[in-house]
């Protein structure tokens, strides 16, 4: 445990967060954008658990618990939005949905 520095976990989490960011910015399939958001949430969870472990504070793990709950709620609502989008426009590609574009 003591052999792995905290910075290694933070670095791993930063790399995963950036991969998620690039996914959100470059893909056009709404479901893959959604999965990239999950990647970013999980990257932050790694940071929280690592700090919780190294500072011996359980608040980090409790917070991860709540983040997961919010992610589950977000999954339900987000996929319902994708479903109703597909029902109305017959597409899940975000660049073909421009009804709200000004």
């Amino acid at each position: 445990m003591e052999t792995i520095p905290l910075e290694y976990f933070l670095g791993l989490s930063a790399i995963l967060f950036i991969i998620g960011t690039i996914g959100v910015l470059t893909r056009r399939n709404a479901i893959i954008i959604f999965m990239s958001i999950e990647l970013m949430l999980n990257a932050v969870n790694v940071t929280l658990v690592a700090f919780s472990r190294y500072m011996n504070d359980p608040a980090g793990q409790i917070f991860v618990f709540f983040v997961m709950t919010v992610a589950a709620a977000e999954a339900a609502v987000g996929l319902a939005i994708v479903l109703s989008l597909f029902r109305n426009k017959q597409t899940v590609y975000v660049d073909e949905v421009n009804i709200m574009k000004w």
Binding site: L6, L25, T26
Partner: protein
């Protein structure tokens, strides 16, 4: 170079690789499967950090519940391969990588600017167990725990309303 460190390196590399596959594969099902693999790797990393309950919840909630929902929606919509990206999206792709590398630069600057001088504090060792987390959750964090149930209720109602064909 002990066993924990070797585990960390293997799990970290596999997690990064599966994350890259997730955002770069053309077919959504491939993305979903590699994302499930990614969640299992993260559960392993939580075990390295001795957060057993979080590791179990990671597998149950993310790999078990959320990804099943995602795969179900992919099958429901019968999505195929994403067609070849048109020329105008190269601008968008370039902008995405640019913003991503700016974010990377920011994080590197923060890393350079300060070392996290966190030493392992003395105290309980078994703070990742379900007993410890449960006791914290129902004593110090009782109000957020109750509030999150309202959020879940709102999410259920919202999902039903949105996915319904027509509100009579």
């Amino acid at each position: 170079m002990n066993l924990t460190f070797i585990f960390f390196v293997i799990l970290g590399i596999l997690a990064i690789a599966s994350a890259v596959v997730t955002i770069s594969s053309r077919h959504p099902v491939t993305s979903a499967i590699s994302l499930v693999f990614h969640f299992f790797m993260l559960a392993g990393l939580y075990l390295v950090l001795q957060a057993q309950l979080i590791a179990v919840i990671q597998v149950l909630v993310y790999a078990g519940a959320i990804m099943v929902l995602v795969v179900f929606v992919i099958m429901l919509l019968n999505l195929g391969d994403e067609e070849k990206l048109k020329e105008k999206f190269n601008v968008r792709k370039g902008a995405g990588f640019l913003l991503g590398s700016v974010l990377l630069m920011l994080i590197i600057i923060v890393f350079m600017a300060q070392r996290f001088g966190v030493k392992k504090a003395p105290g309980t060792v078994n703070q990742g167990t379900i007993e410890f987390i449960g006791r914290e959750l129902f004593s110090n964090y009782l109000f957020p725990f109750e509030a999150i149930s309202l959020l879940l209720l709102a999410a259920i109602i919202g999902a039903v309303i949105l996915a319904k064909r027509k509100i009579d």
